[in-house]
């Protein structure tokens, strides 16, 4: 426990988390500080490319061990299952409509890649290795939750239309394509490829993450400011409880698969995190009646900071304790 607290304290005082806090503060204080949209998108392309490529190179180095396929399957199962947990909790804990609850549940089954990236950076700062293929698991967990949510919405009342176009948009969304693509490029080019672009994707990584989290803080803060009235106590409690439930499921899965401490921590992080890019866009198309303020405030304004500040260090410490590393 003491270790967990020490690690957490360490994490909270890292430049990354402080940058996030600075962004939050600036937005809440209504400073006009902004990171241009194009710059933020460029930073996220860099982070996705770097993390995917590194994962691919790691798999090329160490070889694919037997857990790759089972980990992918486990991720898909989690992504399908978690929306049901989330939906049930939301119906019990809050007064959200079926539509809002279903739309929100899709977010929690899916994942936040920035949370994942931050976790990998905490792991690497602590010198803890993790399975390189976890980026592929991350990609695999983006979409299945949407199916569960649509089923929930249809089952409990509110209609929703999903056409082939939407499926293509979801499955080929930018971050999945970039993550999987750069993973494959890393896998193919291996150590040699890494040697050529190492000084681009390794050394500046943590610094880029700082600026990106600064922007995330700004966006989360602006979202929070605009959402007064939307967030009841029950909703807030859900936003803190659900990642814990997700992390517990991720822990179980990771241990079941016999992963390393790092892999288990990343599984917990993925399950605990909530989408705020791919799923919201899909929900605007498929369930336009659901209120975006609800699910965006929850996933970005509550769960994201929670995972960043409290969650990740705890998940890492727990994963270490449970795997005996």
């Amino acid at each position: 426990m003491q270790d967990i607290l020490a690690l957490a304290a360490d994490n909270v005082l890292s430049p990354m988390i402080l940058c996030f806090a600075l962004g939050l503060f600036a937005a809440l204080a209504r400073s006009e500080l902004t990171v241009p949209e194009a710059a933020a998108k460029a930073l996220s392309i860099y982070l996705l490319f770097a993390i995917g490529f590194k994962g691919g190179v790691a798999v090329a180095d160490h070889g694919v061990d037997g857990t790759l396929i089972s980990a992918l399957a486990a991720g898909v199962v989690l992504s399908f299952a978690l929306p049901f947990v989330a939906f049930a909790l939301l119906r019990v804990m809050t007064r959200l409509s079926v539509t809002d609850a279903a739309a929100t549940s899709a977010h929690y089954g899916s994942i936040s890649i920035v949370t994942f990236v931050t976790a990998t950076s905490v792991l690497s700062a602590s010198g803890i290795a993790a399975e390189g293929y976890m980026v592929a698991v991350a990609a695999a967990m983006e979409a299945p939750a949407i199916i569960s949510a649509l089923w929930l919405a249809a089952r409990f009342g509110s209609g929703s239309k999903v056409d082939a176009t939407l499926w293509r948009e979801i499955l080929l969304n930018g971050s999945i394509v970039l993550l999987v693509g750069s993973f494959l490029i890393g896998l193919i080019t291996g150590a040699e490829g890494m040697a050529r672009i190492e000084s681009f994707i390794i050394s500046p990584f943590q610094g880029v993450l700082c600026l990106f989290l600064l922007d995330m803080g700004l966006v989360a803060g602006r979202g929070l400011r605009g959402s007064r009235g939307v967030i009841s106590l029950g909703v807030l409690a859900f936003g803190l409880l659900m990642p814990v439930m997700g992390a517990a499921s991720g822990l179980a899965m990771g241990l079941l698969l016999g992963q390393s401490a790092g892999g288990v921590a990343l599984f917990m992080t993925l399950a605990a995190s909530a989408s705020y890019i791919a799923v919201p866009a899909a929900m605007r198309v498929a369930m336009p009646e659901a209120n975006p303020s609800v699910y965006l405030t929850l996933s970005l304004g509550i769960t994201f900071p929670f995972n960043l500040i409290v969650g990740i260090p705890a998940y890492v410490a727990i994963a270490q304790a449970m795997t005996g590393a």
């Binding site: 902004t34 933020a40 602006r222 890019i277 866009a281």
Partner: protein, 102 residues
């Protein structure tokens, strides 16, 4: 200079719906339109700015200049898309040069 009567239709719609709207327009035979970015706004769902958007989706403005007699086709196609979605559709009378282009 010789001008011709036309209609200017301006549709403000969520970015994720843009592709669906333009596809519907093309299907309805409306092949002329331009898309302008919207940085922010306010409506019944509250105020927003692109800077405060996750994924910076936001909204778009689609502008179609069209012959008056084709207006209804366009509005039907557009309405089918925006029906369940937020968004604003306005129609203005205008004149155009080079009517053969429309």
């Amino acid at each position: 200079m010789q001008t011709h009567k036309a209609k200017r239709v301006e549709i403000i719609i969520e970015a994720p719906m843009e592709g669906r709207l333009t596809t519907a327009l093309m299907k309805a035979g409306v092949t002329g339109f331009s898309i302008l970015p919207v940085l922010g706004g306010s409506g019944r769902a509250g105020q927003w700015t692109r800077e405060g958007q996750v994924g910076r989706s936001g909204m778009m403005a689609v502008i179609c200049i069209i012959r008056p007699e084709r207006l209804d086709t366009l509005l039907d196609a557009a309405f089918a898309v925006v029906e369940r979605h937020i968004g604003v559709v306005t129609i203005t009378d205008c004149e155009v040069l080079r009517a053969e282009r429309f």
